[in-house]
Symmetry: C2
Subunit: 294 residues, 2 copies
Amino acid sequence: VISFESFTGGLITPDTDPDNPWRYKFTWNPRNVVMAGQGTAKFIQEGEYKYIPYQKLFLRTTPVDVPGVGRFEGYPNRDSLLYREAYGLQAIPTLIRGTLRYEGFCKAWNVFVQLGCCDDSYAMDGVENLTHASFLAAFLPGSSALTVGERLMNYLGLTPGDHLLKCLRWSGFFDDVPIGLTAGTPAKILEHILNKRWQLKPQDKDLIVMWHRFGYRSQGTIRHVQASLVATGNNSSDTAMAQTVGLPLGIAARLLLQGKVKERGVVIPLSREWYNPILDEINTYGISMTEEES
Amino acid sequence: VISFESFTGGLITPDTDPDNPWRYKFTWNPRNVVMAGQGTAKFIQEGEYKYIPYQKLFLRTTPVDVPGVGRFEGYPNRDSLLYREAYGLQAIPTLIRGTLRYEGFCKAWNVFVQLGCCDDSYAMDGVENLTHASFLAAFLPGSSALTVGERLMNYLGLTPGDHLLKCLRWSGFFDDVPIGLTAGTPAKILEHILNKRWQLKPQDKDLIVMWHRFGYRSQGTIRHVQASLVATGNNSSDTAMAQTVGLPLGIAARLLLQGKVKERGVVIPLSREWYNPILDEINTYGISMTEEES
């Protein structure tokens, strides 16, 4: 194996919330979404170690075409190198793990990164008097004679029709609406404002997309195998996130109670004893990978 | 008092190292220079709290004209608000403390910030095999078929004659020269490479520039008082940094030994008992503020 690329996203189905320009909602821990990518992403590419700091992470995305689902954008997720040993791929020249989003999301999210809105290291002053708009303004230069939207456009060099502005406007960041908190870090306040529109409504459906690509050399040519998984939730409570995380855990607990596994202690499910019966059973719930060779 | 702006820089004299495009050398703890600005800068401007994250700090500089010395650029330094109480300025609408550099420095330093070279939170891999150029390349996208300079230009949208490239080239970042370390964080390695050219040579002279501006309302008009201090070192050992930091401490120690001050415990020299005799005596060493009203 000469390369292993693995990207996964917790998204929403294309027909969920069709007017939402972000094409994203919180489908798991909102705090983790706000904090995502802080620290430096590490991976290895053609034998060279690569490091992407937070301030460039959402700009250096990779297009990922998932068979039968379409095109997404992926950004590297924390330390991909941690998985070399666990996967038995110590000498692999390319290893990257990442997160998938619909196209355009990362560029819009990068506004918060660049402004410093995802910082969780200090408490803001005067939070009880802040509105959505003045929260944003605290991170912007320029005179208060201009609107927050104008100051943002000047600061980031945007034009009035920019998709980024559409996203921020939809989320209410230009509104003089009280935030509704009396204290908080920028990250906490950002999460609170985003959650007003990004919380799943009862009939919203989430979508999990997982995509792996393995490269290997065979008789002098490089070949690829892609494996992908797509899971769709039924509503805001019976989510694909809950199924894909919860079912394997439930099956594993039963395997343990029935005495069908021998491993003891704190283990991760990287042995056949665990993953074979778990994968077999989640198949019966319609959760499975499809493979494709090229 | 309606505003207090205070900027200080530890620099080099204009005639020191005239071919150095950075117009900067290490004149105090190099590590602090590499780590400068990490975390968020906080200040208050016309009654609004302002926050600048690291990724924007070296882009949001303010021109500062120091009477008799010329124009510098200033960037805000950590939490200016910490000084409100110490200075007895609790209700002041504008308070900002910052660092001075020669014009152009901050834009060039920002290259390291954007690439992630100042990160001290993780150890890099394979440091023993890194060269100056491959250190930089670890933070750059793009094919290794291009030179590091070309990859940097593509990444940051620079043109071949850009001043930033001149600075990096002068510091040796495009050279395939071994770094000379076997381990280290990006920050540690960056400091090590920079120190090869930024260490003071015996006859180099450092320069301290301190500038304060106070704004106040008098009979309906806003008036300003500027106070500035310029101190020049004699050589790489008898530096202005050593004089301006060391002499007040030495004088304070003598005041204490001679029983001339009553304060005891851990105190900062914000009472007249301390600062009057200290300021009087450092005047005799040629270190003094000049004031100007407008």
